[in-house]
Structures are given as structure tokens and as C-alpha cells.
């Protein structure tokens, strides 16, 4: 081939490639396909190995649970037909519903349940507690299994039905035998949807198909409880990291449901006659200013108190959600507002923005001008905005700020370091907790104050732990509430962490989609598309 022939050939090829075969954009989809934009990328799919919310949310479609909490936060039977507890509270016997099947057609047997609970209890905080008092967990027959304990654990059903990650999902025995710190490679469950692994493109999309053999319960669905009836054949998760793109796609009818529109875009969505906007999770979120109790200055309880008094929760919340007052409220405590254990005990002075009082307390505490190393993730708008408020607050209080602007991946590593701040450690970082994870101490590692075993910051506050023990042993709701009041008051006094406020988020969906509810995760059962 000479150069002339090559150039002519290339030109011809280019022209052929450009031949316009325009057609209408491929926007039309079968009506039984629900296109959903989740909060984040489904980067892995083992709900025990990885405990991110997005994994839990997807897993709830594929794997079923023995129990599931309802909207009243009460565990209800799901895969279980009946349970029986001995008079001494030490032996629990469970019987599975008949006809339960995995997606590969195999029946769900008690040996699958035992293997699944064994794996789960190695990773879940409540599971670890149960494991510590476990005498035996074993199958009795194909549909019956028994859990024998050395000490009563009244909250066993809550542990099995809670929606906090990791949930007690049931997998086939061969999968559940995988080491809990190693990722599974097969995604077979017995939930209402099958995972279409061949169509999974991590970072772009995940597809779930209706499981024809799923037998929903007869009761109406309520969160993770009741009949999980799928009214669509296929759910497509379309990952969109950019909120403006997700907004445009929803307005253009290219997707049906967006889990977490940012507040800035909500007014735009509200103007669209084809879109509904409403609160996503009624349990909301609690913002956190997490202090390191191991190193100065926050090893001093008076300085932690100074921050609690000096910070203004309204400043933090406005930085997150702007002027929409329906989306936030002050939080004079640590537990989720609107839930049975919510407490304001001891929290009267939290977050009022009393800088003068904070300065006075700081002087009394003998603050020596140590720099406060603030490790702030800039790639998460929530932490970034709160970090900016914190830097200003600490400066107003007269503290020296060493602001480390970084990404969430780095915060995740650095916060695990107990080294002094000047040697790669830290003094504070921001995060937030889903309200569902702050309803009681069993699902709330961030409230624990048991020193080395506590969550990052390692608070060592015996009165908090005493209250938590009291709650675990409580026999009735009144005793539980009294115990939580003690926990809340002790957590404020000791400054386990600084709650920066309580805030809610929106979800948005096209009006041809019905049945979208509110909850701690996007429940797809009961959702239909015209």
C-alpha cells in the first residue's frame, strides 16, 4: 500500500464511520424496569466483608433475613415461622418457613442459617456479643436450629432483624463458610431479587432481576418486615457520581428514582411537574465532631466541654443544608430524635455557641496552645462543610488550628492511628452517623467509651459504659429509657464526641413511580412503575 492509497482508504473509512444513522435516543425502556440512582457505587457485594451502606442496601434485595425491623423499629419474623425461648432465656429454638429457596433452586436449610450466623457474628458488634456468651449454635433438623447461650440475651431478635450493617443475611452454607474477612465470590441469596452478576459493572451499574420463586410473607411490608412483593421485573442501579448529572437524568426521564439529591438541587427538582421530592430517611443523620481522647488538648475533659459549649449546631447545619429549616434540628444528645430511646438528659448546654463560656473554660483547663490537628475529608461535602465551620470555631475560641485538608480515604487510615498528632496522628475529624445507627447502644459503636476497644478517639468513660451495660440488662422499656438517660448525660459530661446536629436528606422520583416509602434504606419492594 502506498501513502496515497492509505490516505484515501483512511478518508473513506472515516466517512463510512461518520455515516449518520441517527435514531431517537434510547430513552424508552420496558415499563417493568426501575432505574435507580443509588447514593454510591456498589464496589463490592459482600455485606459481611464490607459494611458500607450501599452494600447493605443492595444486599437487602438479594439476601433475606430471619427477622426484619419494621417502621416501629421492632423485629418481626421474616424467614422464621416461629421461635421459642426457654424459661431461663438461655435456649432459643427457631423454625424456618416452609418452601424457602435460594436463587440456585436449592432449599434454605438450617445448616445454611447456622453457617451464615456464624460468619455474621464474627463481624457484627451485636453478633460478637452473642458469640461471647454462645454455648452452641446448631441445626436440629432441616428447618429447625437452636442457639444455646451461657447468659440470657434479651435483644437477640433485634440483633437478627436490625437494619444496621452488617445485617444478619442468610446465604447458602458453601458461601457462608468463607472467612468473614475474605470477600465472597458467589452472590446467591433467597431474597426477592437475583443479582445479575454478568451485568455488573462496578462504578457504573448493577442489575437485579425478580426472583420468581420468592415467597413473600402475607403481612403488609414495613421496612425489612412483612411481604417483600416486587412489582417490577428488573431494578437497574445506575451509578452517577455527579449530582448535576443525576438531576438532569431524572428531569429528562432517563432514570426513575434518585436516592440522595443534594439540597442545592432540590428547588430545581421541585419545579418539575413530573417529579416528587420527599424526605428519604425519617431517622436522618447525626453530624459528628470526633475528638481524640488520647492526646492533648482533647485528653482534657474540660477542653472537650469547652468545644461542646462553644460550638453552634445551627452553624454546622446551615453549612450542610442551607435555609431549609425542615431538614435539621438541634440535638442536645446522642440518640436519634423520634425514636423510643431519644434523650436530652444532661444536654442543655450543647451547641449553643457560647464562645465566651468556652473561652473561660479553656482558660480554666490550662490550654497550652497545642495545635489542633483537624483531619478533614474534602471529597465529602458533609465533612468538608463541617470542617470549615470547625476551623472557624476553634480559632474563635482561641485555639491553634492545624487544618489537614485531605480525602476520605486518608481520613479512614489516619483516624486509626493512635500516634501523637505531630507524628501522623490526629486531634479531630468529622463524620456523620445514620440515625438508624444511633437508636440504641447495641448498634452504635460511636457511643461506646470503653477505651482501647472504643471507636476512633478511644474515649474511656466508665459512667457511659455502666449505663450501656444497664441498657443491655434492662427488662422493660422504662428501664431501658432510664439507662439511656444515664448514657446520654455521661456522654455529654465526658464528651464522647460532639454532636453537630441532626439532619435529614431528600429523595426524588418520577411521578409515574408509586410506592416509594421513607426508611433507613431505599426499600424497592412495593414500588411500582406505570
Amino acid at each position: 500500500m502506498d501513502r496515497r492509497t492509505f490516505l484515501k482508504g483512511s478518508a473513506a473509512l472515516g466517512a463510512a464511520g461518520m455515516a449518520p444513522q441517527f435514531a431517537a435516543p434510547a430513552l424508552a425502556q420496558p415499563s417493568k424496569v426501575l432505574r435507580f440512582v443509588p447514593q454510591a457505587n456498589l464496589a463490592n457485594f459482600d455485606p459481611i466483608w464490607g459494611t458500607q451502606y450501599v452494600v447493605r442496601n443492595a444486599a437487602a434485595l438479594v439476601w433475606d433475613m430471619l427477622y426484619g425491623v419494621d417502621a416501629q423499629l421492632k423485629p418481626q419474623r421474616q424467614m422464621v415461622e416461629s421461635e421459642e425461648v426457654s424459661a431461663d432465656g438461655l435456649t432459643w429454638t427457631f423454625r424456618l418457613r416452609p418452601g424457602l429457596k435460594f436463587h440456585d433452586g436449592e432449599p434454605v436449610l438450617s445448616k445454611d442459617v447456622v453457617a451464615s450466623l456464624t460468619r455474621w457474628s464474627a463481624r457484627d458488634p451485636m453478633g460478637i456479643m452473642i458469640r461471647a456468651i454462645q454455648a452452641e449454635l446448631a441445626p436440629v433438623d432441616d428447618r429447625t436450629f437452636r442457639w444455646q447461650l451461657k447468659k440470657p440475651f434479651p435483644k437477640l431478635l433485634l440483633a437478627l432483624g436490625k437494619n444496621n450493617a452488617p445485617c444478619a443475611f442468610i446465604m447458602p452454607e458453601r458461601i457462608a463458610k468463607t472467612d468473614p474477612f475474605t470477600q465472597i465470590t458467589e452472590y446467591v441469596g433467597s431474597g426477592p431479587m437475583k443479582f445479575a452478576r454478568a451485568e455488573w459493572v462496578p462504578g457504573a451499574r448493577a442489575v437485579f432481576e425478580k426472583f420468581a420463586d420468592y415467597k413473600p410473607r402475607d403481612e403488609p411490608s414495613s421496612w425489612l418486615a412483612g411481604g417483600k412483593r416486587m412489582l417490577v421485573d428488573r431494578v437497574e442501579w445506575i451509578i452517577m457520581p455527579d449530582p448535576a448529572t443525576a438531576s438532569a437524568a431524572l428531569q429528562n426521564g432517563e432514570v426513575d428514582w434518585w436516592e440522595n439529591p443534594i439540597p442545592d438541587l432540590v428547588p430545581l427538582l421541585r419545579k418539575n411537574a413530573n417529579i416528587n421530592v420527599d424526605i428519604a430517611d425519617p431517622l436522618g443523620n447525626i453530624g459528628s465532631f470526633r475528638m481524640n481522647h488520647l492526646h492533648p488538648p482533647f485528653d482534657n475533659p474540660k477542653i472537650r466541654q469547652a468545644v461542646l459549649m462553644g460550638m453552634n449546631q445551627e452553624d454546622y447545619m446551615r453549612s450542610l443544608i442551607g435555609d431549609d429549616d425542615k431538614l435539621w434540628k438541634p440535638l442536645p444528645g446522642f440518640f436519634t430524635p423520634g425514636t423510643p430511646l431519644y434523650s436530652e438528659a444532661g444536654g442543655q448546654n450543647i451547641g449553643k455557641g457560647d464562645i465566651a463560656a468556652a473561652k473561660k473554660l479553656l482558660a480554666e483547663a490550662g490550654y497550652k496552645g497545642e495545635p489542633v490537628v483537624c483531619v478533614v475529608a474534602q471529597d465529602q461535602s458533609i465533612t468538608k462543610n463541617m470542617g470549615d465551620v470547625t476551623a472557624d470555631l476553634l480559632k474563635q475560641m482561641g485555639m491553634k488550628v492545624d487544618f489537614v485538608a485531605t480525602d476520605w480515604g486518608t481520613v479512614g487510615t489516619r483516624r486509626a492511628s493512635k500516634a501523637p498528632p505531630s507524628q501522623g496522628g490526629w486531634n479531630m475529624f468529622h463524620t456523620w452517623h445514620a440515625g438508624a445507627d444511633c437508636i440504641n447502644p447495641a448498634v452504635y459503636p460511636a457511643i461506646r467509651a470503653n477505651g482501647d476497644k472504643a471507636w476512633f478517639g478511644w474515649p474511656d468513660l466508665p459512667p457511659v459504659e455502666a449505663g450501656i451495660t444497664e441498657w443491655f440488662d434492662a427488662a422493660d422499656p422504662a428501664a431501658e429509657k432510664a439507662a439511656i438517660d444515664k448514657v446520654n448525660a455521661a456522654a455529654v459530661a465526658g464528651g464522647v464526641y460532639v454532636p453537630t446536629g441532626y439532619f435529614l436528606g431528600y429523595q426524588a422520583w418520577r411521578k409515574n413511580v408509586t410506592g416509594v416509602g421513607k426508611g433507613p434504606l431505599p426499600f424497592t419492594w412495593g414500588v411500582s412503575k406505570a
Binding site: 435516543p25 450493617a165 470477600q183 448529572t245 443525576a246 471529597d379 480515604g409
Partner: protein
């Protein structure tokens, strides 16, 4: 020629080795820990440590580098820490959207930029020239994401002509495939057009002063023939060079464009992997990009011989 080709292909090996060592070292030195991200926000430090150990991230740098290099030599890019999928599979899932975007952008940019550059050179110093060069400055100056949002707003939301996001594989039809690529290619192509148009203009200005152009005009050849047959052909070498160099520009721009238009390509794969510290994926993608760039350069060198018969290796 054959000897040149062999020498250039062999030269790829040390280049890739240096790139590999550089990337591996950089990731090892960078802060961040995939185990912490996998474990989630509620995990205890002990859980994170167990996951780190299960991933082998607690082993010494040299051991990990040795294993990785050995696997690379066997054509195995490893397995993603997060998805548990082979890196080659993940790259395979993402290649088509990115290659499609780059090809459409390239074709569109060349078809627009070269005539504009020629026109500007022909009308040098006049209004058309100033308009083209002004447009080129604008193309360089406006950020890619701003152009992307504006185009999506006008053509998707307001006019409803094109989808606002997404990608349709070419197997599902050229029409839908192209419909999804038009706005991203326009977005990504603006910088590229600006670059090529400026270089074309500058080179053509030089060529148009040559004696053979004057001769061609004196012979009475049509202006189009003078510009596109005689002058442009002789100005092609620098233009092809800048088109090749611009491939790196396209790779960088694709990261933003793919995010703005939710195209599941290699750019987004790279960003996601970096944010999650998914080391095998980052290393695999960077090696792929480097290899592609080396090949593009080689292809351009070979193309010179087709464009200019005086060039021989």
C-alpha cells in the same frame, strides 16, 4: 523500517518497567488505606487490621512489588481489592466507552479544526482569522465541565434532542451509540479543536509562503486545490504530531467528561480506583494508558513515512 519498528517495540519494555515501578512506589507512599474503606465507618481498628492482613497489605513493599511484577510478566494485572474481579475484566468492561468517546472526539475535532486552521491561515489577519483564533482561546479557557453542563442543559433538558447522560454500546445500534456520544465529544473536543486549529494555522502560514505554493497559484490552480492538496499535505507532519500529543489531552479530559455524562469508561474507573485506593486497578489502568501513549507515538512516527516520502527510518 522493520529494524526501526523492532527497536521501538523493544524500547517499550524499559519504559513500561519504569512506569510500573514509579506507580507502585507512588501508591505505596501515598496515604490512605483500602482496608479502612472496605470495613466501613462502623468498623473497629481491629477489623481494619484483619482486612489489611487478608489483602496482604501488611507485607513488606519489596515482597508485594516482586509478586506484582511477576504477575505482570505473566500477563496478569491482578484482582481488584474491592470488586474481587480481575483487573483485565474491569478494564475490558470500560474500554469500549472510552475508545468510542476518544474516536468520535478525534474525528469530530480533526474534521472541524483542520479546515478552521487552514481558513484562518488563508485569511490571516482578517476577521475570519481573528474569529477562529478567538474561538481557540475560548476553547482553551472554558473548563470542560462547564461546557458539558451547558450542552446537557440546552440539548438534553431544554430541547430534548439528546440524552443527558449514559452510554449505549455500539452493538445496540450506531444511532443510540452516537446519540450518547455527541454531547460528550463536543465537550471534550473543544480543547482539542483549539489546539489543532492553532497549530494548523501556524504551520499553514509558513507553508503558504513557500515558492511551490506561489507556483501552484501562478499555474492557475483553484484556491481549494492549493490549500488542501498542495499546502496542507506539506503542513501535515506538525499537525499529525500535535494530534498524537493531544491523545494524552483526551485521556485526561475523558476523566471529567465521563463523570459529567456518566459514561462508564476508563476515566471514571481510574478516579474511582484512586479514591478507594484500589491499588491493582490503578496500577493496571496507568500501565494501559502509558502503553497506549507509547503505541500512539509509534504509530505517529510510522505515519510520517506515509505523509512525507522524504522521511525514512
Amino acid at each position: 523500517m522493520f529494524g526501526f519498528l523492532v527497536r521501538r517495540v523493544l524500547a517499550v519494555i524499559p519504559v513500561m518497567a519504569v512506569v510500573g515501578l514509579f506507580v507502585f512506589s507512588l501508591l505505596s507512599l501515598a496515604p490512605g488505606d483500602p482496608a479502612a474503606l472496605i470495613a466501613g465507618d462502623q468498623a473497629s481498628p481491629a477489623d481494619i487490621e484483619r482486612i489489611r492482613a487478608s489483602l496482604g497489605l501488611d507485607r513488606p513493599f519489596l515482597v508485594r512489588f516482586g509478586e506484582w511484577a511477576w504477575r505482570i510478566l505473566h500477563g496478569d494485572l491482578g484482582t481488584s481489592i474491592f470488586t474481587n474481579l480481575p483487573v483485565t475484566t474491569m478494564i475490558g468492561q470500560r474500554v469500549q466507552p472510552t475508545v468510542s468517546l476518544m474516536l468520535v472526539t478525534l474525528v469530530f475535532a480533526v474534521l472541524v479544526a483542520v479546515p478552521l486552521g487552514v481558513l484562518a491561515a488563508w485569511k490571516a489577519g482578517r476577521l475570519v482569522d481573528r474569529l477562529v483564533m478567538g474561538g481557540a482561546v475560548l476553547g482553551f479557557s472554558v473548563p470542560v465541565f462547564v461546557v458539558g453542563y451547558l450542552l446537557a442543559y440546552v440539548f438534553a433538558l431544554e430541547l430534548g434532542w439528546l440524552p443527558a447522560q449514559g452510554y449505549t454500546p455500539i452493538e445496540q445500534g450506531v444511532g443510540p451509540w452516537l446519540a450518547n456520544l455527541i454531547l460528550p465529544a463536543l465537550t471534550l473536543g473543544l480543547v482539542y479543536i483549539a489546539l489543532i486549529a492553532r497549530v494548523t494555522r501556524a504551520t499553514m502560514l509558513d507553508v503558504l509562503q513557500q515558492d511551490y505554493v506561489r507556483t501552484a497559484r501562478a499555474k492557475g490552480l483553484a484556491q481549494g486545490s492549493v490549500l488542501f492538496v498542495h499546502a496542507l499535505k506539506n503542513a501535515a507532519v506538525p499537525i499529525v504530531t500535535v494530534i498524537g500529543i493531544g491523545i494524552a489531552l483526551l485521556i485526561g479530559g475523558a476523566v471529567v467528561t465521563e463523570t459529567v455524562f456518566a459514561i462508564p469508561g476508563l476515566g471514571r474507573l481510574t478516579v474511582d480506583a484512586i479514591l478507594r485506593r484500589d491499588y491493582p486497578v490503578i496500577q493496571g489502568v496507568v500501565l494501559l494508558f502509558s502503553f497506549t501513549y507509547v503505541l500512539v507515538n509509534l504509530a505517529i512516527d510510522l505515519l510520517y513515512t506515509l505523509i512525507d516520502p522524504r522521511i525514512r527510518y
